[in-house]
């Protein structure tokens, strides 16, 4: 991963993680964001209301040419969740990974969504590639992206009820019965 973080000198107590330039720029423009370093990768937690503006900022001013991936995580039944100071953990997290070709760097932007109101601004007008991923996120998690031109189910049939990747949506496992088995597995 080509970032400008240096290795901590061996034997010394770990210094505060060196700030990634782009993360620092996001923090400057959008106060209230939280920078975190996750296994040597820069991550910025932003507020819901700033989501679309952060995407536009990254594309227009920071030259992040591609949004590679947008996905949702459901933290309903987490055994243990990493506590990041300054971030208010909610049920859903929307995660977007960005890549800048000219600067050869990546950044991840995460936003927390409450379970009872999973709506977020769509970034299809900024990154056209997000059309299908946002539809998939809606299909699998029920997160509604406002401003999306065609927010329909992508992977499940149109008349499917429920959002399969939510933790409270059953996996739908059918118990398998073998001959002379005392109980189904």
């Amino acid at each position: 991963m080509a970032t400008d973080t240096d290795e901590a000198a061996a034997g010394e107590p770990p210094a505060a993680p060196p700030a990634d330039e782009v993360a620092a720029a996001i923090l400057e423009r959008f106060p209230g964001s939280v920078i975190h370093e996750s296994h040597r990768q820069p991550v910025v937690y932003v507020d819901r209301s700033a989501w679309h503006d952060v995407a536009a900022f990254l594309r227009d001013e920071q030259r992040f040419t591609q949004c590679l991936d947008l996905t949702v995580v459901d933290h309903l039944i987490d055994a243990e969740r990493a506590v990041i100071p300054g971030v208010d953990p909610q049920r859903f997290e929307v995660v977007a990974n960005f890549l800048s070709h000219p600067r050869n760097r990546r950044i991840r932007v995460i936003c927390e969504l409450p379970g009872d109101d999973p709506t977020l601004a769509s970034i299809v007008d900024v990154y056209t590639a997000m059309n299908f991923p946002e539809r998939e996120a809606f299909d699998m998690f029920g997160v509604v992206f406002e401003g999306h031109p065609e927010l329909t189910r992508l992977l499940m049939p149109d008349d499917w009820v429920g959002h399969p990747l939510r933790k409270d949506d059953a996996p739908g496992r059918i118990p398998v019965e073998f001959k002379e088995d005392p109980a189904p597995r």
């Binding site: 499940m156 499917w160 399969p164 409270d168 949506d169 739908g172 059918i174 118990p175 189904p184």
Partner: protein, 188 residues
């Protein structure tokens, strides 16, 4: 006047033999490769394992012209009605080989998205296990089918392939410590 009206006696035995021999040697598969098994099905048709020596290299895209549907791969909920439609469009006599474990029983994906066994939708003649079954295994399945065609009844398919015949009720589902989120319509 078709085969149904033909009297079945020692005089027509040679004719039946001929018909079955012809049917066995010119089975045309329908293109129904879905997932990873389709790769191995293509390998079976390619030069190393060559289906052409059994007269089967012609994959007919139109189900009307095909005799055999090799369901190669996992059948999702969205694909199930399409599968049934293609099967219905095939003209008798027709056979179905369920290739791979996903088509036979749902395979390693015992979840909401897959039909747990294509025999829930269409009657299957031969199940070929494997994930994916190598070309040799598929060949064994195809040759078993050929044997069935050659020695089986002229007008009726064999009784095999009626499915497991087991009814299971879904006992697991929502984990007990979470409740599903109901959507209430608020009259605002």
């Amino acid at each position: 006047m078709g085969l149904e009206q033909m009297p079945h006696n020692f005089l027509t035995a040679r004719l039946e033999d001929l018909v079955q021999w012809a049917r066995q040697r010119s089975v045309f598969p329908a293109t129904f490769g879905l997932a990873c098994c389709a790769m191995e099905m293509m390998a079976t048709g390619a030069a190393h394992y060559d289906l052409a020596r059994y007269g089967m290299e012609v994959w007919r895209a139109s189900p009307r012209q095909a005799d055999l549907m090799i369901v190669a791969g996992r059948v999702s909920q969205k694909m199930a009605p399409v599968l049934r439609q293609v099967y219905d469009q095939m003209v008798d006599p027709k056979w179905v080989i369920s290739m791979g474990v996903c088509a036979s029983t749902g395979g390693m994906f015992n979840n909401y998205a897959l039909v747990q066994g294509v025999d829930q939708i269409v009657p299957v003649d031969v199940y070929v296990p494997g994930c994916p079954p190598g070309p040799e295994t598929l060949f064994h399945g195809i040759l078993t089918l050929h044997h069935q065609i050659r020695t089986g009844d002229l007008l009726r398919r064999r009784v095999s392939g009626t499915g497991a015949g087991v009814h299971v009720e879904q006992r697991d589902g929502t984990p007990s410590h979470v409740q599903p989120i109901p959507i209430r319509r608020k009259s605002a």
